[in-house]
């Protein structure tokens, strides 16, 4: 390493290789990614967010929300449940099979009623396959049920891990690297009430006790109530510390950001991140995409984001 050109070439080689590996190659693989289909359901996923939610994404970016919130659900793995759908007609044989698989369940009275019900929980694929074979051989109908596992899933932050498709139509992609606040990958699913979000932006600590989120009062305009209250004003402003006679009008940024929150629902079951869902008609399955639900949707305020 005595001469400049050699150092230059060495560094050049090292940089080219990592540049090819992490810039060019992912671009070949991910840059032309197309929407996929949900499994089951066969519904196109994802769909672009509605316009208001896309504006909200830019508000999210402009205020650096990604500094505190991730949008990635982590998953440790998956386990299987075995669901018995139908006991069939050969009940003694079925009882014997259930007793063999799940002695505790078999001891309960009416073990074979109120179907479908899970016979086995938290088992591997091999064990599930063996049990299904046995149950089906006894004349019943059993099916496997895939459940994603991991603390994030148990915390209710998602049904499955986040995958590349979830971010397909977002720019910039803000998957986040910190969880000073909770993960938001599925916040629209947990908390579909737009009014809750608006109130939470204005005074987080008043809505979620112990929250360290800073208030975003600059998203709102405080006005004296005129001859007639503004229909767009925030409901229950008094509980947020607003004097009587005044009302809070959310600005465009707040409404867009709240719409973006509602559009955050990455729960479509996919081939690359499977989990079982109750078979739903296609119309309902379509709801499981990124599309925002109707704005009037309300939910009890007990749920935490």
């Amino acid at each position: 390493m005595n001469y400049g050109p050699i150092v230059f070439l060495a560094a050049f080689f090292a940089l080219v290789s990592s540049w090819y590996g992490f810039v060019v190659k992912p671009q070949f693989q991910l840059g032309h990614m197309m929407p996929t289909n949900t499994v089951p359901g066969g519904v196109t996923y994802p769909t672009a967010r509605p316009g208001l939610a896309q504006q909200g994404l830019q508000v999210y970016r402009a205020n650096g929300c990604y500094q505190c919130h991730s949008q990635q659900v982590m998953q440790d793995g998956a386990f299987f449940e075995v669901i018995l759908r139908d006991a069939g007609t050969n009940l003694p044989s079925m009882e014997a099979a259930v007793r063999h698989l799940a002695p505790k369940l078999a001891e309960q009275p009416n073990a074979l009623e109120n179907l479908p019900k899970p016979v086995l929980r938290n088992v591997s694929k091999e064990e599930a396959d063996r049990a299904i074979k046995l149950l089906n051989a006894s004349g019943g109908k059993a099916a496997p049920w895939v459940v994603a596992a991991g603390p994030d899933i148990e915390r209710g932050w998602g049904k499955r891990r986040s995958v590349a498709e979830d971010f397909l139509y977002d720019s910039p992609v803000m998957a986040g690297g910190q969880r000073i606040g909770p993960d938001l990958a599925n916040v629209g699913l947990r908390q579909p009430d737009i009014n809750w979000h608006l109130r939470h932006f204005y005074a987080p600590a008043a809505v979620v006790k112990g929250s360290v989120m800073p208030p975003y009062k600059f998203f709102f305009e405080k006005r004296k109530i005129g001859r007639r209250p503004n229909p767009g004003a925030l409901q229950g402003a008094q509980e947020l510390g607003i004097e009587p006679g005044y009302e809070l009008i959310p600005k465009q940024d707040a409404i867009a950001l709240a719409a973006y929150m509602l559009s955050l629902r990455a729960d479509a079951p996919l081939y690359s991140a499977p989990y079982s869902v109750a078979s739903a008609p296609p119309a309902q399955a379509a709801q499981q995409t990124n599309a925002a639900p109707a704005q009037g949707a309300t939910q009890p305020e007990a749920a935490k984001p």
Binding site: V7, W19, F22, P26, Y66, Q178, R179, K209
Partner: protein, 476 residues
């Protein structure tokens, strides 16, 4: 000519040297003063963002002071205002000293520094106005990125020409580290700017590029410039050769070959081969850290007192911080705990260790040693206080954040603990780290105060002389 033969001459050069380099000295002073100003401003923003954990409502009402923007301003001012500019200044100074030459095209470098500072200023304004890019550590908007790149390249030309004008034929260790670094940044920065800001790619390919850029800037570029400075300063202070050239070569290769592949977290929502490669590369970078450990140990062996003395302690602390960073990064990756530490304060702790504990500390050492060159005197007395404040500040910032990260990770693993309680458990640590932030503000203010007083003194006493030599050189 080897590195130390140019340095075994008394560490403080003769008075006669100074006028010869006069234009260069003015340039260096300007670079260091503007870098230190951004550093101070960035640490003030860091302190504000830290205080927000004591009271979320603190300065929350003006939109430009909301946490997300202030935090981005703090990180980006540290990286682009101080590290980039201070690193370029240190590079010019080291090349000037090791090559026994004047800085070539100082006016062009000065113009570059102006453009760079305009870029940082525009970037700061953009971030506070909400024009954040959305990628951590790369938050300045496109219009600022253009200036930063152009400014860097103008200074970079001067760096390369100064290296070419060296009087030693065989490249010394710091020289080759700096040569690689000077070309590294424009490539990664232009790639990231183009593919993330101007023609954004689709979907998570953005995240992969952002991770790649972050690793290449924060580990490789800072690593190359920081190590070049430490490998220049330590042998010079100890009055011996770097031990050894081959070990330094090993550090260089492992850093550029493997460091440039790190950075993608294990749980990233991208095709599995990308995090797999990245994790493998992170584990292999352990040999880089071992190389740094062996090099610095072999170089300072038996001279620990001097290595931690007045002048050497900046480099020694910096190298220790780098090794601690490596231990944390490789250790957590290798034992497979990376995934659950992924979204925690550990990342912030690691960032401060690298950007402040390692890089900035070594650059402080360069700045004070350059000043002692300039005055042909021992290190200024303020260096001691500045070092201890900065060192204790770094420790008080990084350790509590690492502790907060581990507590947060453990509690996040348990879904029975409500999320609010997880955050609450980290608050004591975060509040402790505010003291660290405060000490850093004071340390950075001292650095700026010192540099400004040097500038005032120098201009008052030697102003005319400096001006004459500078213009004479330019005219020639």
């Amino acid at each position: 000519m080897s590195i130390s033969s140019s340095l075994t001459s008394p560490s403080a050069p003769q008075q006669g040297d100074v006028p010869r380099y006069a234009a260069g000295w003015v340039l260096l002073l300007a670079l260091f003063i503007s870098a230190a100003s951004w550093l101070l401003l960035g640490s003030v923003f860091g302190l504000i963002s830290s205080i927000k954990f004591h009271s979320p409502g603190f300065l929350a009402d003006p939109a430009w002071l909301t946490y997300g923007r202030v935090r981005a301003a703090a990180v980006n001012l540290l990286l682009y205002g101080f590290c980039l500019q201070g690193g370029l200044g240190a590079a010019l100074w080291i090349l000037m000293r090791t090559g026994r030459t004047a800085i070539i095209l100082p006016l062009m470098a000065a113009l570059g520094a102006c453009v760079l500072n305009v870029g940082v200023l525009a970037g700061l304004g953009g971030i506070l106005a909400g024009h954040i890019s959305g990628f951590e550590g790369f938050e300045m908007p496109g219009y600022a990125a253009v200036f930063i790149l152009a400014g860097y390249m103008l200074v970079g030309v001067s760096v390369v020409l100064t290296l070419r004008a060296r009087q030693n034929d065989r490249l010394s260790v710091p020289q080759w580290f700096l040569l690689a670094a000077v070309f590294w940044f424009p490539w990664i920065y232009s790639t990231a700017s183009l593919l993330l800001l101007f023609l954004p790619v689709r979907g998570v390919a953005q995240s992969v590029i952002a991770w790649w850029y972050t690793a290449n800037f924060q580990l490789v570029w800072l690593g190359l410039v920081g190590l070049a400075s430490a490998f220049y300063l330590l042998p010079r202070i100890l009055g011996r050769e770097l031990n050894s050239r081959n070990l330094a070569l090993f550090c260089f290769w492992t850093l550029v070959l493997f460091g440039s592949w790190t950075g993608v977290p294990r749980s990233a929502p991208v095709p599995a081969w990308i995090p797999a490669w990245s994790v493998a590369a992170t584990v292999i970078t352990s040999v880089f850290y071992i190389g740094v450990l062996l090099t610095s140990r072999a170089t300072t062996f038996g001279q620990c007192r001097l290595a931690w003395g007045e002048a050497g302690r900046f480099s020694s602390f910096g190298l220790s911080a780098l090794l601690f960073f490596g231990l944390l990064t490789v250790g957590l990756t290798a034992i497979g705990k990376n995934e659950w530490l992924n979204f925690t304060w550990i990342n912030a702790a690691r960032f401060h260790l690298l950007a402040y504990g390692f890089f900035s500390m070594i650059i402080f050492g360069c700045i004070f040693t350059a000043a002692s060159d300039f005055f042909a005197s021992p290190l200024p007395r303020i260096a001691r206080a500045q070092f201890w404040l900065a060192a204790i500040g770094t420790v008080l910032l990084s350790l509590p954040l690492a502790g907060a990260g581990i507590v947060q990770a453990l509690k996040l693993r348990n879904p029975d603990i409500a999320f609010v309680d997880v955050t609450k458990a980290t608050l004591h640590f975060l509040r402790l780290s505010t003291i660290g932030d405060l000490l850093l503000v004071v340390a950075n203010a001292m650095l700026l105060f010192y540099l400004v007083s040097v500038a005032i003194g120098a201009f008052r006493e030697r102003g005319r002389k400096l001006y004459q030599t500078a213009t004479a050189e330019v005219v020639r």
